[in-house]
Symmetry: C2
Subunit: 210 residues, 2 copies
DNA sequence: GTCTATAGATTGATAGAC
DNA sequence: GTCTATCAATCTATAGAC
């Protein structure tokens, strides 16, 4: 049996604590006491802390990447059907929108987006390796579609611009429930507004003359 | 006496290990054995691990932020002298160029840029708090100059675009000595090329119609 | 300033009763 | 499946000889 009330409770609490402190700084005792379960339950259900980390990441990331992939393939299909190239703006929207709207998809999903926004920058090998492996296919597809939208762009320019896109997006993900930079002009924005602001910024950057 | 061979050796090794594993995952034993000094030397020279972390960050960040501030003030001064507004592209260049060229300013400075690129996303409160405090003044100045360059931009749009800039830059900093995203088209670039690519991308994003 | 030795706390993981 | 109790390892920090 894959599901169990205790198992799910552990996953939910671990997700929240990992998002705000990192997996390395979060002890199994902190998780089990906050979840109201016994310390030994973690090892009974997951075997090791590393497996718990992997499960916390993959549980929702598989779903999110499925949404991203579907949106990207729809963009490609409708471009092919119309006999045109995909547009940079719609490719970016297909990746960014599911990501920033994901917190609305279920309780605790907001913690998950913060967690994933940190995963790529995480100095902890364990978490980063798991994350990169799960992201590789959809990132590859994302890169292909951006290349189809701008075939005139040199591959290395496209590669680094894709990195700028991922950097801006993951920073936004980390700050989605609070203002990321502590400045006087800091103003919180709703997720749909952030989608619009971010895709507008990124489209202009991608389409800039090299 | 502020300098000592042992003290500097500890700082250099800690900088490298912190950059690649994070401060939390790096034990004092790992630092002292790699540095070839005694374990107790850390507490003799710094008093506590937290102070060592602060020292590693501030040692070079004060210098880097000084360069950034000087460049930003020069941009403002030359605009005032010419009776015009600062240009978005030159403001971005004043912040980005010293950052990405900093690794050439001394041995081990490349590790520092990787470290700082991670600091803002670091889940560890200690490192992030130290970092944010040191960054606040120059970030404030950076935001002011971007606002002077584009006074028509609503403050909240400017705030979030500044976040996109910082996100893209810090991601680039993390990957300056290797390719950040594991894709087939990954190609390493020299620091001056990255400066040009990044500022071009960011200028277009900042200047996009809202 | 540098060393050995160790205190004192916390960690991930497990054994075994129920 | 859940619990108590505990092991073995690791960590930061310090005391005190040299």
């Amino acid at each position: 049996m894959a599901t169990s009330a205790t198992r799910e409770k552990i996953l939910d609490v671990a997700e929240e604590l990992f998002a705000h402190q990192g997996s390395r700084a979060t002890s199994l005792r902190a998780i089990t006491s906050a979840a109201g379960v016994n310390l030994a339950a973690v090892n009974y259900h997951f075997g090791a802390k590393e497996v718990l980390i992997e499960e916390v990441i993959s549980r929702r990331l598989v779903t999110l990447n499925g949404q991203r992939e579907q949106r990207l393939l729809e963009v490609r299909a409708s471009a092919v059907a119309a006999g045109r190239r995909p547009e940079t703006a719609e490719v970016l929207m297909a990746f960014v929108e599911p990501t920033l709207l994901f917190p609305q998809s279920g309780t605790g999903a907001g913690n998950f987006i913060t967690l994933v926004g940190r995963a790529m920058a995480d100095p902890d090998e364990t978490a980063r390796r798991i994350f990169v492996r799960l992201m590789q296919p959809v990132l590859q597809l994302f890169a292909e579609l951006l290349a189809e939208a701008q075939p005139e762009l040199a591959p290395e320019v496209l590669y680094w611009r894709l990195n700028f896109v991922i950097g801006a997006l993951s920073h936004t993900m980390r700050g989605i429930d609070r203002c990321p930079l502590p400045l006087e002009i800091a103003v919180a924005k709703s997720a749909p507004e952030l989608v619009r602001l971010l895709t507008g910024f990124l489209s202009a950057g991608m389409l800039a003359a090299p």
